[in-house]
Symmetry: C2
């Protein structure tokens, strides 16, 4: 069973908005054994939308569109689909009740444009949109193929996918006339070896993989995720291949499953019953925001000091003025004092500190742009390490964040 996504909106094609919806939908479809064949982004243009829908429906069994369902004039998806399926709009009492209920405390929203939200295509199956006003629409073709039209607002689309679209596809799977595959992805993350050297190291392993199992390399921020994708392969065989792969990369292995590194760190801290804080200069809060991104992080993440200015390093973290004067803010001595200072201040078991030159200015002969010192304070000792992480601001801070978490994970293991 194969699917395509069509994302609709001029904002995507002028680069005003990054399409995060497609990755979410792709992951959910894959989990259900549905292969996503193509993603197509098109303008808010009737002909273009119609053509993209037509072509996608000719290629695959399931087509999901997002976007263009708002109440304003630039939202045309509902009208285009009515035209494509030769149907008209009729009022839906159910959708009206839902929308009135949704805006119970906000009577100013119940105007004549909002009222158009409860007009629905006569031939569509309407699925409830629990958190928004645009009805979720679905058409089933005589061939069994399905077309869904979902809102582009990420929160609404995510709930619609989980609660409505995937269960609907599951219920209709026999009518769609083809089977979903058993798709298994196994991912491990390694660090400390160039991609090409890793590929040579894994050449024999890769050559002897069955044709239905594929190995992919995803380099990012100084790490490489290795993904084994298996189609209709017995679970035991995939487990065995993953074990072989892990054995081959043991030396560089960071994480043996597909979880974000901050979550792996959190899980480990929680197991140990330990807590962490951070003191950040060049990473500027990126470490903190990552560490408390997931629900439940309050059990092990206690706090951070973003010490961008030297006065904050000194007055809040207790970095000595002699350290700042002699070694400078980007130095081993400074990150050690920062890490130990924030550990003491927040009363945590572990702490990480970063200080570096993210550019575009501030580089010197001795400390060129990309120089980053990181320290890890533990209950027994403090480690520090210097890195050279490239030339571009975002690249440097992303890589520094990653290095900080990789070493922390090793310390915790």
């Amino acid at each position: 069973m194969r699917a395509e996504i069509i994302t609709i909106g001029d904002e995507l094609l002028i680069g005003q908005v990054v399409d995060t919806n497609s990755a979410f939908m792709a992951e959910r479809l894959n989990e259900q054994g549905i292969e996503l064949f193509q993603i197509t982004s098109v303008h808010d243009d009737a002909n273009h939308i119609r053509q993209a829908v037509h072509e996608a429906l000719s290629r695959v069994e399931i087509v999901i569109t997002t976007g263009g369902l708002g109440p304003t004039k630039d939202d045309i998806t509902k009208h285009v689909l009515c035209d494509y399926f030769s149907t008209d709009l009729i009022p839906s009492a159910e959708v009206e009740t839902h929308v009135r209920d949704l805006y119970r405390d906000r009577p100013d929203v119940l105007n004549r444009l909002t009222e158009t939200q409860w007009l629905v295509p006569r031939s569509a199956i309407i699925l409830p949109n629990r958190v928004g006003s645009a009805p979720l629409m679905c058409w089933q073709l005589p061939s069994g193929k399905l077309l869904f039209s979902l809102p582009g607002v990420p929160y609404e689309m995510e709930i619609a996918m989980r609660e409505q679209v995937l269960p609907f596809i599951h219920r209709q799977s026999s009518a769609i006339g083809c089977q979903s595959s058993e798709i298994t992805h196994c991912t491990v993350m390694v660090s400390g070896i160039p991609e090409s050297s890793l590929a040579i190291h894994l050449e024999h392993f890769e050559q002897q993989l069955p044709a239905s199992v594929h190995l992919a390399y995803l380099p990012k921020d100084g790490t490489i995720r290795l993904r084994l994708s298996a189609y209709n392969v017995a679970h035991e065989q995939v487990v065995e291949l993953k074990a072989q792969l892990m054995n081959l990369v043991r030396e560089w292995l960071v994480i043996d499953e597909d979880v974000p590194i901050e979550l792996a760190v959190g899980q480990r801290l929680q197991q140990l019953g330990k807590t962490i804080s951070t003191a950040e200069s060049c990473t500027g809060g990126k470490l903190a925001a990552l560490l408390n991104r997931h629900a439940g992080s309050s059990a092990w993440y206690w706090g951070s000091v973003v010490a961008y200015d030297n006065s904050v390093k000194q007055n809040v973290l207790g970095v000595k003025s002699s350290t700042l004067n002699q070694a400078g803010a980007v130095s081993e001595a400074c990150v050690r004092e920062m890490a130990e200072g924030v550990r003491r201040l927040c009363g945590t078991d572990y702490a990480i500190a970063t200080s570096g030159i993210a550019g575009p200015s501030g580089g010197t002969q001795d400390k060129p742009i990309g120089t980053v010192w990181i320290a890890w304070a533990t209950p027994t000792t403090t480690y520090a390490e210097c890195f050279h992480l490239g030339k571009l601001r975002d690249q440097i801070t992303d890589r520094a964040t990653m290095r900080a978490l990789i070493r922390l994970l090793k310390i915790l293991q």
Copy 2:
């Protein structure tokens, strides 16, 4: 002149990676007056890539592919394009010199897979990739149409676009055989009015727009960006339309240009010669990371305390234990003390504090999930306000970050 982007890689179609490249490329193309017609994401599959390239070249004048240029076995774009253009690979001395130079300090990378990077298609024009090993390839068809193949690594693609692809297109524009349009986008950001009410308010303005000018509504995190897009319209006329629009939305106007709000805040602080710090509980460092995201922020952003645990609120920020015991961490009294505490601690002119219930647990009858208190400390007074920002963790913290910056901008004006 129209373009299409084809992004290549299984990681996009299984949702392992969000495609941020397309938005960057779209924005750059638009700036050059080149309309991006469609974005298509396809698998690392030879037939699929070939077909996507063929169809895109039949529709538009410029096609740019990204991805699939690495040294590993899953990277097949170069071979597929050789096949499509019926050419073969030959060694390039220039690329070899560049790659050897790039890895001068890392001899372990110069292995036989890396050596394949200096094999280039005989019929392609090779453009230099200053920061990576994969050569940038370009083909010009007899019709003048152009196909570019760029790496998928964002840093490499961005530099390739700016330094090579756009100048190349500019030089070739007469050979491509059609003109770039004069595309003007004007964006303003408003807050405090529902999208549908705004659309009714602007109905008359929208109806009397010339056919070549389009108004779009982009709601996000409790704000709406209004974008006027004009194609081949005189600059003075666009300026006049924007002035009319701004006049109509003056009551809800937050920013009158298309800059991210954190940059508008920074520019204002810099003009005033003032500084800011943040004390964050529920936003957990998001405010800090946003405020220091752009180069030059060290002039006005001094530091932050992420006080996730109450002990940090108390011991670092000086929130009174009686406040935490009586009013609780999510209260007006607490955020006021947090804001004033961090302002004092970091010695800044302004400070923002956030404390809220981001869920999924921790909600009560009195303070349901989504309750967020925000305080703004200024040299003369401290403001505080309570918000109800939805039910989902990311939604709540994103909206709280936005609310904090919107009100700060108003205070600074």
